[in-house]
């Protein structure tokens, strides 16, 4: 009998322990940031740094995509939504945008590719399928393989609105669901071309100059490099005390320093 009670007590202790673990009191305030996976890394860095200085505030950062960010901010699920694309008129009505910086979109090709610059029109013709071989634009005789992102991706919609104009990315382009996967695909295929965000650029792939301008922090910040998009924090209505505090801190020199470290150009 005794051991039975012990068991019951043990079970109760486990339940209570689990409850405490999941719900560790509410002696701090929390900020939820949800949205674009492009903005997520910098938001996480900002959150970590902010929490160091404000131990009684917890900032949770989650991905999900720009669409999720906009939706969560509108529905009040998240205190701050993240978006890496411009809002449309309808969405602008309900939300306040805070631009934390600008980011470049880099046209990436395989390191073995001998092309090093393209004009916006050439990029457009490649992506809408008019040009299908690298030799037509001065490269080797190699079929062009287009790697694109899925519909709804912030990077893709920014790319489409800047480059594609009224045409569309050809429908049989390979779709990869993240910047890293695009980079991986381009780095292993000599004929591939894709677009990746500036912050994710690395030696594995080659960045192209667009209209004679090479993407660097300088050319993006002064606007010479055309392929760029805003990183937005979205809030609904008036922000509460701690959210306001966080946003002010992001805009402060300390916040800007972190944004710069992530290769995003603070505005």
């Amino acid at each position: 009998m005794n051991s039975k009670y012990k068991k019951i007590i043990l079970v109760i202790l486990i339940i209570v322990g689990a409850y405490l673990l999941i719900n560790p009191g509410s002696n701090y305030e929390r900020i939820d940031i949800v949205g674009s996976t492009s903005v997520q890394p910098v938001a996480e860095k900002l959150a970590t740094e902010f929490m160091k200085n404000h131990p009684n505030i917890k900032v949770y950062v989650q991905g999900g995509g720009s669409g999720t960010g906009i939706r969560s901010a509108e529905q009040g699920i998240a205190s701050i939504g993240m978006s890496s694309k411009e809002l449309d008129e309808n969405e602008k009505k309900n939300l306040t945008e805070i631009e934390i910086g600008k980011e470049g979109i880099v046209i990436a090709v395989n390191n073995k590719n001998n092309i090093s610059e393209l004009t916006i029109n050439q990029i457009k013709d490649i992506f809408n399928g008019k040009v299908t071989n690298w030799k037509d634009i001065g490269g080797n005789d190699l079929e062009i393989h287009i790697i694109t992102r899925e519909e709804g991706s912030g990077t893709r919609s920014a790319f489409e609105s800047i480059v594609m104009g009224s045409t569309k990315i050809k429908s049989d382009a390979i779709v990869q669901s993240s910047t890293e996967a695009v980079k991986q695909s381009v780095s292993s295929d000599p004929g591939a071309i894709g677009f990746v965000s500036f912050a994710h650029m690395s030696e594995e792939v080659k960045a192209l100059s667009v209209d004679n301008i090479y993407p660097t922090e300088e050319t993006i910040s002064n606007g010479e490099y055309e392929l760029q998009r805003p990183f937005l924090f979205l809030i609904k209505g008036k922000s509460s005390g701690i959210v306001e505090e966080f946003l002010n801190w992001v805009k402060s020199p300390a916040g800007n320093k972190i944004i710069k470290e992530e290769k995003i150009i603070p505005s």
Binding site: E151, S171, I174, S177, S188
Partner: protein, 292 residues
């Protein structure tokens, strides 16, 4: 005595509640998927949705036919590669292999099923895709690449289950056959394999269910182009990939259409399970101690 009865009662009801709980969860999920998906059928039209060839959420086009074909083709091709391989492996392990070899093979195959699908996908992206591109042309992202990965992923399911059913064939059958002078291979071919067939078919169908439901590995290597493939080296998009890729962005009808895609997938998998159940009941063979 009373106390014993009481604890019996509590344990019995406790187990009952737990069992009911999992059923309730399944029904909650089903009803949620149906509720979220039905508006797509209503607004867009059921037949237009199922047989529509264009999927372009930005232009409000939600036809999933190409993806149904994609899912089915990828799965069938994967099964075509996996079934012979895994059946031969199962026969070897159940009937031929000495117990030492079996002791090594079993954990290895179990490890195969323990590898996360993202690892399979990454392996496919880094290793298989370039190989396919260099040898067969195209981009390397193709139905064939995805099927290859899936074939490896369903191997453990089919091998383990069909091995179980091979081993559950009564010993008397084997002894009688050998006693009549049949060789080992004749016994396997004519007696054991036919006797285990219902269980083997069930294992194949369960493997198929796993293949059709696999998402992450397929996304990484299939190319995800919405089109009906002309050859096995064309990129395809499967139903699961469609949901996973676009869920993060979907709003409104697009969101419902993705749940609609889920319903289609659901119907396909339920169909497979019904067939598996039917075969098992018809031949009254139970695998691994129970019906499906």
């Amino acid at each position: 005595m009373d106390k014993n009865n009481l604890s019996e009662f509590i344990i019995e009801k406790g187990l009952f509640i737990m069992a009911i709980f999992s059923i309730i969860i399944i029904f909650l999920i089903i009803s949620f998927v149906l509720l979220e998906g039905l508006p797509a059928f209503e607004d867009y039209g059921f037949f237009q949705f199922i047989f529509g060839l264009t999927w372009a959420p930005n232009d409000s086009q939600y036809g999933v036919f190409a993806m149904i074909i994609g899912s089915i083709c990828v799965t069938l091709l994967a099964m075509l590669m996996a079934v012979p391989l895994s059946l031969l492996c199962a026969i070897f392990m159940a009937e031929v292999a000495p117990s030492k070899v079996r002791k090594i093979l079993k954990p290895v195959i179990e490890t195969l099923s323990g590898i996360p699908s993202v690892v399979y996908g990454f392996f496919g992206l880094i290793v298989l895709v370039p190989i396919i591109r260099e040898n067969f042309g195209g981009t390397g992202f193709s139905m064939f690449t995805a099927s290859l990965i899936l074939a490896v992923m369903v191997l453990p399911t089919i091998i383990t289950l069909s091995q179980d059913s091979l081993r559950s064939v009564p010993h008397e059958y084997r002894e009688a056959s050998l006693g009549l002078g049949a060789t080992n291979w004749q016994t396997i071919k004519n007696i054991i394999f036919p006797a285990a067939l219902p269980g083997i078919i069930t294992s194949i169908i369960l493997g198929m269910g796993r293949a059709i439901g696999e998402t992450l590995a397929v996304i990484m290597v299939a190319g995800n182009v919405v089109q009906i493939p002309n050859s096995i080296f064309d990129p395809v998009r499967t139903l699961t990939a469609n949901i996973a890729i676009e869920m993060g962005y979907a709003t409104g009808l697009h969101y419902n259409a993705l749940f609609g895609t889920g319903i289609v997938l659901f119907i396909i998998i339920i169909g497979l399970l019904v067939v598996a159940n039917y075969i098992q009941h018809k031949y009254k063979v139970d695998v691994g101690g129970g019906y499906l």
